[in-house]
């Protein structure tokens, strides 16, 4: 019964069913679908979906995998957008500098907010993050008006170039964002299959037990927050490149709310959930707002219908059904044995 220390061979064979090397098919299929997306829907809409998708990948790490609800993610997204925008406008910064600044400032802000609020749990953490988010919004609205241009948003951002290709044309811009999305999907994939990724889920499932296993769970939560700010800052900076200006609403709480909605719609705690959520949300918004000025009414009704049909989000519910099916098979096999 006891397995000797050096003998890893029989374990290898067992590992095939326990945990095989994680397959990357999902990644490749997703990238293939995204590659043809601008031929199906308009390239600007597709770009917007990817930007919110990147934002969502990070937000989902925090909400879906770590189980922490932040209601102030607009702060990281908006700060990323403004940092990049300011760098573009005042320093004529290159695209890389802009993105880097967006990411760095968002992560720095997450470190500060994290240090202050990380010990709060559940709804208290959500409320504190909301308060910080709104604080940034009002800062940009009036005290910092001289730099941020307040209500008008940050305009007059020069056209951004990537190796002499100007990114104000939709297709090149889309494929630039597409490449970054690919990188972020790959990064997320690695994180989720890493020991740290599993630790995030353990934290979500049972924080005290994770602590009893010897993990410093406060740090786990902190790193998860900073990591998700990394995605949010990047998405914000890309949003600036995409729009060519920074609207003040990037910092508004509604941005956080939209993110929560997209993630839940797609299925929190599923790898592609936020991307699907962003796609469905923005597609509906775009299509229906063409038909009627009261688009919120119809989009809202459709969301209610989707959540009734898929209580755990679109991909979440599908995953739950697959799990239930697998469990049934495993139980049958156990009964037969």
């Amino acid at each position: 019964m006891e397995r000797s220390e050096g003998d890893t061979r029989p374990v290898r064979t067992l590992l095939k069913d326990v945990q095989a090397r994680p397959g990357t098919t999902t990644l490749w299929v997703t990238m293939a679908v995204l590659a043809v997306l601008p031929f199906v829907i308009s390239a600007p809409l597709a770009s917007e979906i990817l930007i919110w998708g990147i934002f969502g990948l990070g937000f989902n790490l925090l909400l879906g995998y770590t189980g922490v609800l932040s209601f102030g993610h607009a702060a990281y997204f908006g700060l990323g957008a403004y940092s990049a925008g300011l760098a573009f406008r005042y320093w004529q910064a290159s695209i890389w500098t802009g993105l880097l600044l967006g990411v760095a400032s968002a992560m720095l802000l997450a470190c500060v907010i994290g240090a202050l609020a990380i010990r709060k749990r559940g709804v208290y953490f959500a409320m504190i993050s909301l308060a910080f988010g709104q604080m940034l919004y009002f800062l940009a609205l009036s005290p910092l008006k001289e730099i941020t241009r307040g209500e008008d948003g940050l305009t007059r951002i020069p056209i951004i170039h990537l190796f002499s290709i100007s990114l104000n044309r939709p297709r090149p811009l889309y494929y630039f964002i597409f490449c970054i999305t690919g990188l972020m999907l790959w990064l997320t994939w690695r994180i989720l299959h890493s020991p740290f990724g599993k630790l995030l889920q353990a934290f979500r499932e049972n924080e005290e037990r994770a602590r009893a296993c010897g993990f410093n769970t406060t740090l786990v939560k902190f790193f998860s927050l900073v990591l998700s700010a990394f995605y949010a800052g990047l998405a914000g900076a890309l949003d600036t490149v995409y729009l060519g200006y920074v609207p003040l609403t990037t910092l508004f709480w509604l941005t956080s709310g939209t993110m929560v909605m997209m993630t839940i719609l797609g299925g929190k705690g599923t790898f592609l959930g936020p991307l699907v959520g962003a796609g469905v949300f923005l597609f509906l918004q775009n299509t229906i707002s063409l038909l009627t000025p009261r688009w919120e009414l119809f989009v809202g009704a459709i969301f209610v219908a989707i959540i009734l049909l898929f209580p755990a989000g679109i991909l979440g519910t599908i995953r739950d059904r697959v799990h239930a099916h697998q469990m049934k098979k495993l139980k049958k096999a156990a009964d037969a044995a």
């Binding site: 326990v18 690695r190 994180i191 740290f196 990724g197 009893a212 296993c213 410093n216």
Partner: protein, 246 residues
Amino acid sequence: MYLRTEKVCKYFGGLRAVDQVDFRLKKTQLKSIIGPNGAGKTTLFNLIAGVHRPTGGKVFFEDREITRLPLHRISRMGITKTYQITHVFPSLTVYENVRIAAQSRVTSFNFWDSTHRLGEVNAKSLRILEQVELIEKRNWLASTLSHGERKYLEIGIALATEPKILLLDEPTAGMSCAETNLCAELIQKLNRELGLSILLVEHDMSVVMGISDEVLVLNEGKVLAEGTPRQVSDNAEVQRVYLGER
């Protein structure tokens, strides 16, 4: 002395849950803590394991004071507790439950390597699943296990942290007679064969008297008696508390 407490106390408001308890556990000893409901057994466990901080008194492990260390530090020093009401990771598989605990001794914040590369951690997890007889159900979600199986998984998770001292909080609670006997055998095996020091809170007297080296009796937060199972069951005070006045 391996593990010892010095006048350790825990008050919840006016309630003295644990009141000036002194006790010691020797290396490789299997010691049980018994007492009526509300005697402070679980609280005493939580004070040792770092779930609660004592109101007063001290806890020493291997001659180092661990009184105010947080839960995760104490776990890393080698004291691990299992939970009376099972605390597993329900939507992870049985294997992943144990692997999370096993990886805690190797890595915390490695976000780049895939877990399937943690060869030794994975092998250890499987060995432990064999020990607690859950190897056949390794791919099951923990939420689909029966109550008894979850109790075994509890022990499996605790073992995966490579404890020097294992604190078992009512491991057989809610088990059938046959399951209880198997579980007692497992505990005895961990003690005898792996040389684990075990502190056991248990209601089932046949288990306690059958496998313990020593027994500590708590009543209303205080130590009532301490000694071998024989001495304790012959003690007049213990009989009075358990059976009422004669």
